[in-house]
């Protein structure tokens, strides 16, 4: 393959050509083939940095190929193909272009060998993806998109600030493992933390993802957060702080996921919780843990994507994703139901699914390091995942109380995408060895040991039993209409109330000060204009004599200065 090509470039070029491809099957095919071309560019390259050049003394590398970047690149590419299939019915050029640019930016960021390139693509993902939210073309989605954009761009700005600090500190912009400790690395971690939806930095996700279009949410769930996980694995492996952050991340969304009514919001909370597992893996930092985090990220791209796809199909057919309005859909959407169950099984880490082979690696890594509390916490989070996404979500959507809706089965493209994704989830679970061969570190690991299988089966069985009993006794928390308040209450209500009263106070002061400032500004501008305006002394044409006087004066002054 030619060396100057990068997958990002291919995607961007392809995105520019989208409007010229006739809408319909041809364009659908085109969109699905682009990621394939992307794979061809990096696959099979010997590890190393390609497309490296020097800009103002900084080493830029557009394409670093090693096992980690290849793994994420491959997962992103395959996911992009599946997303293109899923969006086969779509006739919205803007979304198609945005998807390609978004995927391309994510690929570019994954292959970036230096932080400047990372930054460029980091912002690229932010800008391209917001169109997937705006494409819903409602006022709410516009506002949500705006909030999303501000947060994402903010993350980029913090990142570049960190990069500048790091460059001042070390003189290098290479994107390698960093030690937490200096202001530079803290800043960079904060930037990644926003994209990764660390606790208290996570609200953008639950705000934006459910506001996007049907296909947009699927695409969004693939790239941004996994890119952040990649950045953590690359930049901060073995940072102890990440373990605690990850545990908090894995645990706290469970409650919200259990209460939430909007199924897409349920899924964003469960995605958030799954990200916690990966952050813990990055924090443990042993080769096995890194492998586990990477594997879980890849597996979660697919099973989480599958779940988003199935809920998206429901939304597409029924026009709602609210649990209170749904129920009993198994009658008319049996295939969607089956695929959803495969996704649910995967996230529950049932043996023979992808979740099992990836999640058990992180758990084992914690166990090997004798981190007992970590192990327990992750186990608790697993139970939560089984409960809120593995059981409750399919139950509310497809079984449970009949909502009376009788929609058609999902369209062919969606079914094909879900079918392939489901097959992939199972294939990874059945053939873990092939999957493990792609992982960055060469650590032998066998997921299907007796104890693993039994523990996981017991877990699933008992949770299922408890769930069944709860349903029977009516103990299951009822899905209520309304919005579950997350910590975003702080900035949506409390902060706005506080700001409101401060605002009124300031408004009063402002009115008084405003007049004063305005008059003094006028006065200042008047002076500036008086001096610099067309008739001012700085701009006037001076008489020759006066010019020579200035010269003489400066000569005299300079002479005096030399003798001081």
């Amino acid at each position: 393959m030619p060396e100057y090509l990068t997958p990002a470039l291919a995607y961007v070029a392809a995105a520019l050509l989208v409007p010229f491809v006739p809408k319909g099957a041809l364009r659908g095919l085109y969109l699905a083939i682009v990621p394939l071309a992307g794979i061809l560019i990096f696959w099979g390259l010997t590890p190393g940095t390609y497309n490296a050049f020097n800009v103002m003394g900084m080493q830029i590398g557009l394409m670093r190929v090693d096992a980690l970047s290849q793994l994420f690149g491959l997962a992103f590419s395959v996911a992009a193909i599946l997303a293109a299939l899923y969006a086969w019915h779509l006739r919205d050029t803007i979304q198609q272009i945005a998807t390609l640019l978004y995927a391309g930016s994510a690929m570019g960021a994954v292959f970036a060998a230096d932080l400047i390139t990372l930054f460029v693509f980091w912002e690229g993902t932010a800008i391209a993806s917001v169109f997937l939210i705006w494409a819903r073309r409602t006022e709410g989605s516009f506002a949500a998109g705006m909030r999303y954009l501000i947060v994402q761009i903010g993350s980029g700005v913090i990142l570049i600030a960190g990069i500048v600090l790091l460059y001042r500190e070390t003189g290098s912009i290479a994107f390698t493992a960093m030690e937490l400790g200096s202001p530079a690395t803290w800043t960079i971690l904060a930037a990644i933390g926003i994209k990764c939806a660390f606790p208290f930095l996570h609200n953008w996700m639950h705000d934006a993802y459910p506001s996007a279009t049907v296909t947009g949410t699927v695409v969004l769930s693939i790239f941004t957060t996994k890119l952040a996980i990649y950045a953590l694995l690359r930049g901060f492996p073995g940072t102890e702080l990440l373990i605690y952050i990850g545990i908090a991340m894995a645990l706290f969304p469970i409650v919200f996921a259990l209460l939430e009514n909007d199924l897409r919001r349920v899924l964003t909370y469960s995605l958030n919780s799954q990200l916690g597992f990966m952050v813990v893996g990055a924090g443990i930092g042993t080769p096995l843990a890194i492998n586990g985090a990477a594997a879980h990220a890849v597996a979660s791209i697919f099973y989480q994507g599958l779940l988003f796809m199935s809920v998206g199909a429901i939304l597409f057919r029924t026009g709602t994703a609210r649990a209170t309005a749904l129920g009993g859909l198994y009658r008319t959407m049996p295939l969607t139901m089956i695929f959803c169950l495969v996704g649910a099984a995967s996230i529950s880490a049932l043996p023979l699914t992808s979740g099992f082979v990836s999640k058990s690696m992180i758990l084992s890594a914690g166990g090997y390091e004798k981190m007992f509390p970590v192990w327990i916490a992750l186990l608790a989070a697993s139970i939560g995942a089984i409960l809120h996404t593995g059981l409750r979500l399919p139950y509310l959507a497809f079984f449970g109380s009949d909502g009376g809706l009788r929609p058609k089965e999902a369209p062919g493209g969606m079914l094909a995408a879900m079918g392939l994704t489901a097959a992939l989830c199972i294939a990874i679970g059945v053939m873990p060895a092939a999957f493990y061969a792609l992982l960055p570190n060469d650590v032998p690991y066998e997921p299907y040991t007796f104890s693993h299988t039994i523990v996981q089966l017991q877990l699933v069985a008992f949770v299922a039993l408890a769930f069944a009993l709860a349903v029977k006794r009516g103990l299951l928390p009822k899905a209520e209409r309304g919005i579950v308040l997350d910590t975003d209450w702080i900035y949506r209500r409390l902060l706005s109330a506080i700001l409101g009263s401060i605002g009124r106070l300031i408004a009063g002061l402002w009115k008084g000060a405003g007049r004063m400032i305005a008059s003094s500004l006028n006065w200042g501008a008047g002076i500036v204009y008086h001096l610099h305006g067309p008739r001012g002394p700085f701009a006037r044409t001076w008489p020759t004599g006066a010019m020579v006087m200035v010269v003489a004066f400066l000569l005299g002054m300079t002479l005096v200065v030399t003798y001081i």
């Binding site: 103002m56 001096l531 610099h532 020759t544 020579v548 010269v551 400066l554």
Partner: protein
């Protein structure tokens, strides 16, 4: 034959346009004189490229004029720094002359055109001579050649606007004062050392030690050259000279005249005086540094209020010279790199912008901003060139303007001069305002009634866009320029005695 040419390249660089100038006058009216002048500048440019390539690795060419022994005879000395400046000067000339044909035809009567091109060639001769020579008095001679030619060129704008005559007169007085100061300064150095060769001067000044004569000479040279390079507040001749000169002349002068003067300043400060004594560095920091900072702001603010596009760009040039001088006063390698790279970057950007102004003059008959309403629709390519050039002037990333500002800010931070770094950035914001005024007029305001404006001819658009292309190309791939500038800067630092202070 080839080896003969190769051995005499430094002489050819100057002699070629010098001999061509009178020939050009003999060619008679019409395009012949223009075509001949063009040809000469192309060959001159080729010579500069050859010299640049030869010195890029670090060789210093020392050429003895007429075979006289140095330091008695005149030495032409080409090193990385002046090879870079030669390239800027002859390259600008080679692009401005093709551009000039149409606009000169519109601004100068046909029978005067051969004389115009003659003066142009003489001006090129002078600027190249200033840059290439290694002899202090020779610098003065070439300074006069270029200045006299420039006065005539500026005055030739009087066919369009009579004010060009007073502008040329003022320039004449001020330029002569500057040249006189310079030659007085050189005379004082000659009093102490008895030599005029720059390299020799550098050695002997150290031998003779500090003295009042040396200090006087230093100040006279500083102020004399300061006048020539339009250091604030010695810039008063510049706005009118640029505004009323024929458009092609303005584009060429803006790209080269002040740059050659900056080169002389660098050469004298670092190679000849070399900061042997503390007063030299102190003078720079106490006089030139504040003036440079004031120039960055005062001239930019004046530019905001100007209505004449050429005058606005002229004031912007004064501000840009402030940046160049600022880099010089840092007395560090990064600062010098910033100055030298900005010589090139500003030449490219400002030449392109003045060329755009020339295109406006040709098509719209005016370059008054208030009368350029809606011109972006009538002259899309010309106006787009202005937008890109304007962005470079502001210093947006991916343009050369950014490269210069980057090095400049870096140099300020290296010294820990935070306030200066902030001021550099703040003054860049002023550039946004004056560039925006033009963009607003060109795109957002309605066109005046009953005005027909055609897109500028290709012969003018192509050179303009070549400059714009260069300002983008070297903004993205700054390797060549910044390496050349960095090497020249380190050579300058090495030739001075500045290191004892660090």
């Amino acid at each position: 034959m080839m080896s003969l040419i190769e051995a005499n390249l430094p002489a050819l660089q100057v002699v070629l346009p010098l001999v061509a100038a009178p020939l050009c006058a003999l060619l008679g009216r019409g395009d012949r004189s223009w075509a001949f002048a063009c040809l000469v500048t192309f060959v001159t440019f080729a010579v500069s490229v050859a010299l640049f390539a030869e010195t890029y690795a670090g060789t210093i060419i020392s050429y003895r004029m007429g075979g006289w022994e140095i330091p008695l005879g005149i030495e032409y000395r080409v090193d990385r720094l002046n090879a870079f400046v030669l390239l800027i000067i002859s390259g600008s000339a080679a692009l401005v002359l093709p551009y000039a044909r149409r606009i000169v035809a519109a601004e100068i009567p046909a029978e005067r055109q051969p004389l115009f091109y003659t003066a142009f060639l003489l001006c090129i001769t002078g600027l190249l001579g200033i840059t290439i020579t290694g002899d202090a008095f020779n610098i003065f001679v070439f300074l006069e050649i270029s200045s006299l030619a420039t006065y005539a060129l500026v005055a030739s704008g009087s066919w369009v606007n009579k004010r060009a005559l007073t502008a040329a007169y003022n320039y004449l007085i001020m330029g002569t004062v500057g040249a006189t100061f310079f030659v007085i300064g050189v005379g004082m150095l000659y009093m102490i050392t008895g030599t005029l060769n720059l390299a020799d001067l550098a050695v002997r000044i150290v031998e003779h030690g500090d003295s009042s004569t040396l200090r006087m000479g230093f100040v006279f040279i500083l102020i004399g050259i300061g006048l020539k390079l339009a250091m604030f507040p010695l810039h008063l001749w510049l706005p009118n000279a640029y505004a009323y000169a024929p458009s092609a002349v303005t584009a060429f002068l803006a790209a080269t005249a002040t740059k050659a003067a900056v080169y002389v300043m660098l050469r004298f400060m670092f190679t000849v005086f070399g900061f042997d004594y503390e007063f030299q560095a102190d003078t720079l920091r106490m006089v030139v540094l504040p003036l440079a900072v004031i120039a960055m702001f005062a001239a930019s603010i004046v530019a905001i209020f100007q209505d004449n596009l050429k005058r606005m760009l002229a004031y912007s040039s004064i501000a840009q010279i402030g940046y160049i001088l600022l880099g010089l006063t840092f007395l560090t390698e990064t600062g010098l790199t910033a100055s030298i790279v900005h010589l090139f970057n500003h030449a490219v950007t400002k030449a392109a912008l003045f060329m755009v102004a020339g295109c406006f003059v040709l098509s719209a008959g005016t370059c008054s901003i208030s009368k350029l309403g809606g011109i972006g629709r009538d002259m899309p390519w010309t106006t787009a060139a202005f937008v890109v050039g304007g962005l470079s002037l502001i210093g947006l990333p991916l343009t050369v303007g950014f490269i210069s500002k980057w090095y400049l800010v870096l140099a300020a931070l290296e010294l820990g001069w935070w306030p200066v770094a902030l001021m550099i950035m703040a003054s860049s914001l002023l550039a946004i305002i004056y560039v925006w005024r033009v963009i607003e007029a060109a795109y957002l305001q309605p066109a005046p009634e009953g005005v027909v404006r055609k897109e500028a001819p290709l012969s003018m658009l192509i050179p303009t866009w070549i400059f714009i292309g260069l300002s983008i190309w070297f903004g993205i791939n700054a390797m060549l320029t910044s390496t050349a500038a960095g090497r020249a800067a380190s050579a300058l630092i090495d030739s001075s005695h500045i290191l004892w202070k660090e």
